[in-house]
Symmetry: C2
Subunit: 210 residues, 2 copies
Amino acid sequence: MKRQKVSNAVIRRLPRYYRHLTDLSQTGVQRISSSALGMAMNLTASQIRQDLSCFGEFGQQGYGYNVESLRNEVAEILGMTRAHTAIILGVGNLGRALIENFHFDRGGFRLTAAFDVNPALIGTQVSGVPIYPVEELEVYLKENPTSVGVLTVPQSAANDMAQRLVQSGVKGIWNFTNLELHVEDSNTVVEDVHFADSLLTLSYLISEAP
Amino acid sequence: MKRQKVSNAVIRRLPRYYRHLTDLSQTGVQRISSSALGMAMNLTASQIRQDLSCFGEFGQQGYGYNVESLRNEVAEILGMTRAHTAIILGVGNLGRALIENFHFDRGGFRLTAAFDVNPALIGTQVSGVPIYPVEELEVYLKENPTSVGVLTVPQSAANDMAQRLVQSGVKGIWNFTNLELHVEDSNTVVEDVHFADSLLTLSYLISEAP
DNA sequence: TAGATTGTTAATCGATTAACAATC
DNA sequence: TAGATTGTTAATCGATTAACAATC
């Protein structure tokens, strides 16, 4: 698999490709052309071929793409086969919602533990995920190297927690606090889910014209 | 306030401007230059001046921008002063998390009601927000024109619910189901919060190099 | 084989950056 | 006033689209 410099725009489209290919696969579609896929995804055929060409040659002239195998290729590109692991920091409503409802496994992740400060929660399990005291974070991460820390703690604890995750060497932080994390001089990647920004964007879009 | 064709890239930066200006304001900073703001936000000074010029002239030569008044301008641009209202569809973990923890008011929204199918929830309140049966959605929306429907229902109910919201004339749908909603021939705007896409992006970023 | 569709190179379009006159 | 910094126009860069030879 060749890796050129892949632009951010392309990277952000990859999960969408994966999602659409999964849909197609489940609908029993076996092959698809770039133009048909483009139609479904609201992209041009050119763009799809251009995007995919960053990673290899997955199609066949005169035929198109095999849905199942392209889906597998995209999964591979996305790192879904790397057996990533995740832990959740903060088991409030949002943390709990993610543990109970979000399918980490569908993204190739295994959710191995959660951490909280609330004594009432510690020692219990949510959907089979054990909840440990935050003090044990470093020890846990030492014994269980972890790909991603999911940050669902209150804002006041966010930067501190992020720091500790970085120090312990997680590869990524999935940030649900509405803060800009200040993670410097590390190669830990931060992916933000800024609810507030998203709502404000929607606010703008429905407020058009003064 | 002039409105040119504002690119999507610019729109997505507006909430970030607002967030940073709020931070600055809270820190007591009264004025800031495009270059200083750029430094803080990791943008070029040019870009900031270019972005803002889509909406008007908010700065002063030799001085820069007044933080408080620029913040107000951005709030205005984002439609935060329009007294928008929102309702939540689906009071599961995620819906509840949003009701209890998300500050709709900080985005200029008033959260007026929630809807669910669970008889045990109906008639109760969560953080002061009343929960009504979904059957009453249309009647409610008729009597209480609402800006945005927040979609936190199970995937199976998502498209149906979206359709009903559109039919009832909401201006926007804030979509937390991991589905591509099929909302056609309407001017209802859909803003997606795709957790799954976000996690896969992170997966890609931490999986670099084969 | 003929038709379809790829991967890729070239052309276009749009967004970001640089430069600078205007002016506080 | 002199220095700083804007808003805007021009230059550059990057991403999207179009075109087409290669080939299944």
